[in-house]
């Protein structure tokens, strides 16, 4: 008879995360958290469909015909909400194949659909933790700093009491993003112009969204000398913030679930233990 090494486990963490990926909240429902699952479903899908409505389903029409491929949705933040992106591609895809004007609200709408993908990614992490945690508040405590790290890079580390690390993350990532924006003269703040770079840059979180709402989609009337450098800086800043979020999540997960902390040092071999089971 196989004994469950973790008696507190509510279900399979991988199943919970996969269910959430396909349908927001489904993983939580699978773990018995129906109310939370419903709230997540409404939040994630509400953001997604509001965004879709605001952009008229035309997000992928930003792409020039030669850049349109099945990889386009895979390389967009919306991938975090798999059910949503599949629905969007089935119903709207790359459009009817003719050039038509974009709605005025497309920038904000496209941002909301991307945000729903990130939020569902966080919901997947929460479901995965919830399946292993002793209580729901423990899973919330793991997720909260991770989500804070998306709001402001480094904030998650600060919430965990890792002040130096948080400040280094904030200084490095924000200076990369700001420098990239200056080098590209703001042209990086446009999904229409740089679809794939924008997807990476979206990982910088709220600062990126605010900057785009304030200065995005500016008219470019001449060659920008360092535009390529600027795009790389912005994109790398966003991708590195995702790495920082994994670090935050791993730290909280170790603390709450009693797991060993990640280290590049080779861990000592576990001592052989003898478990006696009395029936």
């Amino acid at each position: 008879m196989a004994l469950d090494p973790n008696p507190a486990r509510r279900g399979d963490p991988n199943v919970a995360a996969l269910l959430t990926w396909f349908l927001p909240g489904a993983g939580h429902a699978y773990l018995g958290q129906f109310g939370l699952g419903l709230a997540l479903f409404v939040l994630v899908e509400g953001l997604f469909f509001l965004g879709l409505w605001l952009c008229g389903g035309m997000t992928f029409e930003f792409l020039d015909p030669e850049l349109r491929s099945p990889l386009a949705p895979v390389l967009s933040p919306e991938l975090g909400n798999l059910g949503g992106i599949l629905w969007q591609m089935r119903n709207y895809g790359f459009g009817p194949g003719i050039v038509r004007p974009f709605p005025d609200t497309i920038v904000f709408g496209s941002m909301l659909t991307a945000l729903s993908g990130v939020l569902n990614g966080l919901a997947m992490c929460h479901a995965h933790t919830l399946a292993r945690a002793s209580s729901a508040p423990a899973a919330h405590r793991v997720l909260l700093p991770t989500a804070a790290g998306f709001v402001v890079p480094g904030l998650g580390h600060l919430m965990q009491g890792r002040r130096t690390r948080g400040l280094v993350v904030f200084a490095l990532l924000m200076s990369c993003f700001v420098l990239g924006t200056l080098l590209a003269e703001g042209s990086n703040l446009s999904r229409e112009r740089h679809f794939y770079y924008w997807a990476g840059q979206f990982g910088i979180g709220l600062p990126g969204m605010l900057a785009e709402l304030a200065f995005g989609s500016a008219r470019v009337t001449r060659d920008i000398a360092y535009v390529d450098g600027g795009l790389v800086f912005g994109c790398v800043a966003g991708l590195l913030n995702l790495l920082a979020l994994i670090d935050v999540y791993g730290w909280s997960e170790s603390a709450e679930l009693g797991l060993p902390r990640k280290s590049s040092e080779s861990a000592p071999a576990p001592a052989a233990s003898k478990v006696e089971i009395r029936l």
Partner: protein, 66 residues
């Protein structure tokens, strides 16, 4: 020349960010991360320098127009 210098400085800055965040990702403990950071920096920039050297040799050997 100024252009090369600017590119080099930008690369150094971005490389530092990549190595630092990579170190944070692999080592959750700050003391351990501080310990391995210089070695990782050396490895990253040394590797990049080697790659540049190989590319320059290749360019000079196979693609020189002069």
């Amino acid at each position: 020349m100024t252009d090369i210098l600017v590119h080099l400085l930008l690369f150094l800055f971005l490389g530092t960010a990549i190595v630092t965040l990579g170190t944070f990702h692999s080592d959750a403990d700050d003391a351990r991360a501080r310990k391995v950071w210089p070695r990782r920096m050396l490895g990253f920039f040394g590797g990049c320098a080697l790659l540049i050297l190989v590319m320059l040799v290749c360019e000079h050997t196979f693609a020189a127009l002069g």
